[in-house]
Symmetry: C2
Subunit: 289 residues, 2 copies
């Protein structure tokens, strides 16, 4: 549980630095509420796993990278839950931010998290300018236009959806940012790490579709059958449950094969396979292993 | 008009770099629509004016700073216009972004502009790491918690408003960021430039209150009497029109007195006074001069 603790502590510390008696108190509350308690923290774990595999010689930079990626993820959940999008009243088993604090603080809280993500990188990586520049670039690409998660969400507003772009941008982009950020934080060339993130992101999406298709609402903390109700592209709808499981196995194999040579290569593969198993419904986990 | 052209060109070029056939087309359209045609571009002009006074030895960095500040300003207008806030249907004389593109693209377009603002700094200032770090910090402070423009807007969601914090954060923070960013872009210590931005920001707010109180809707491109209707703190309501005009004069005098020693000191003062006069309704401009 050391990595989980490291992530929670880093998130807490970065948020605490921005907190102040001069800030509007409900905004501060809404921001904390968006970040804690977290979900599975898959993306920051991925950042730290890759950083560790690459030597993790500047752990404060890795922490900032993990925090930045997770803050962006939380910001996207808060904005995607807004009534104009999914209108979800529930997130991670509790009222969503707009349900608890109102739409205005959900908009502003998400905005503040986007700003804080960049700020976290700047605060911790300024002693390593080359890493800072790489990390800022990775973060902006993973989140913004043309193909980050904001662009992914925006495909839902188009009359004609480019399905490949949509799926890649909506989930894959931030996973690719996570693996690349882990490498960049450790001072290693990040581009070779993109494919791992891409494949894991797609695998995660397939696993999510599978859970969406077979799970109970209590297991997820959000309503099930959402994709179908919203007419979203869904691997299970396209390939059936068996087909989706075998596609997931392919993706994981490709992901493992893509891991670049690095000191912690084998340990990283083991860790990733263990984590991947956790994102499947129990009844499917064995089948996919 | 050279500075105006420089700003429009820089904004256009930075947006163009993020545009791509793989991006969702309506999101791209909404982003351009948020930025062009602009308002008075007061803040980026201020960035460039201070940069010029400090030597402007890396004009590409100054341009990026001006672009970043203006993108943040545009993002804040797009989000502040959302139905959950002001619900303004009109902005700069045309339908606001949510009125033209829907709420979802207004949320996402604003988000994308926040990301692009940081990205613009990173793209252009990476060859000057010290300036990059300073600029990122200035931008995050001017926009985020505890006292940037997002915090300013969030004060409107509190039961008890800290008026001084509210006014400073809502407008002053981005003006202070503009003057400091101009100095930082030119490689000069930025902290001494904060007061100029603070004072100009407050002066701008007073001028805005005066315009809001006396103008015609056609002059502003937005409905008048908004502050009163929304119960917002307003200098004119507190001091009357005459009192507000004389307070404005004080603020401008303090602003001029605060300009730090620099090569272009005198020219900067002249320019700022000329610009200040433009933000008052015609009938009050002479009185305040």
């Amino acid at each position: 549980m050391k990595v989980q603790e490291r992530i929670e502590t880093a998130l807490d510390q970065f948020l605490a630095r921005g907190e102040s008696s001069v800030a509007p108190p409900r905004l501060q509350e809404a921001i904390r509420y968006s970040v804690f308690p977290g979900g599975a923290r898959v993306r920051p774990q991925l950042v730290l796993a890759v950083a560790a595999a690459c030597g993790d010689d500047a752990p404060e930079v890795s922490d900032a990278a993990a925090v930045a990626i997770e803050m962006m993820h939380c910001a996207s959940l808060v904005h995607d839950d807004l009534p104009c999008f999914d209108g979800s009243e529930l997130r991670r088993g509790k009222p969503s931010v707009h349900a608890a604090f109102g739409e205005r603080l959900a908009v502003l809280g998400g905005d503040a998290l986007i700003v804080s993500a960049f700020d976290a990188l700047n605060q911790e990586a300024s002693a390593h300018p080359t890493r800072l520049v790489a990390l800022l670039n990775i973060l902006a690409q993973g989140v913004g236009v043309p193909s980050g998660i904001i662009a992914g969400q925006a495909w839902e507003c188009e009359d004609h959806i480019d399905l490949a772009q949509y799926q890649r941008a909506k989930t894959g982009a931030l996973f690719a940012a996570a693996t690349m950020a882990g490498a960049a934080a450790a001072g290693v060339a990040h581009e070779p790490w993109r494919e791992l993130g891409d494949k894991l992101g797609e695998a995660f999406q397939v696993a999510d579709d599978l859970r969406d298709a077979v799970s109970n609402p209590e297991d997820l903390g959000k309503p099930v059958g959402q994709d179908e109700a919203l007419g979203r592209p869904n691997v299970v709808a396209a390939r059936g449950i068996k087909g989706a499981v075998s596609y997931l196995k392919e993706l994981l194999a490709e992901a493992m094969a893509s891991v670049p040579a690095c000191p912690g290569e084998e340990a990283l593969r083991e860790l990733l396979m263990k984590q991947a198993a956790q994102f499947l419904p129990r009844e499917l986990a064995q089948e996919a292993a």
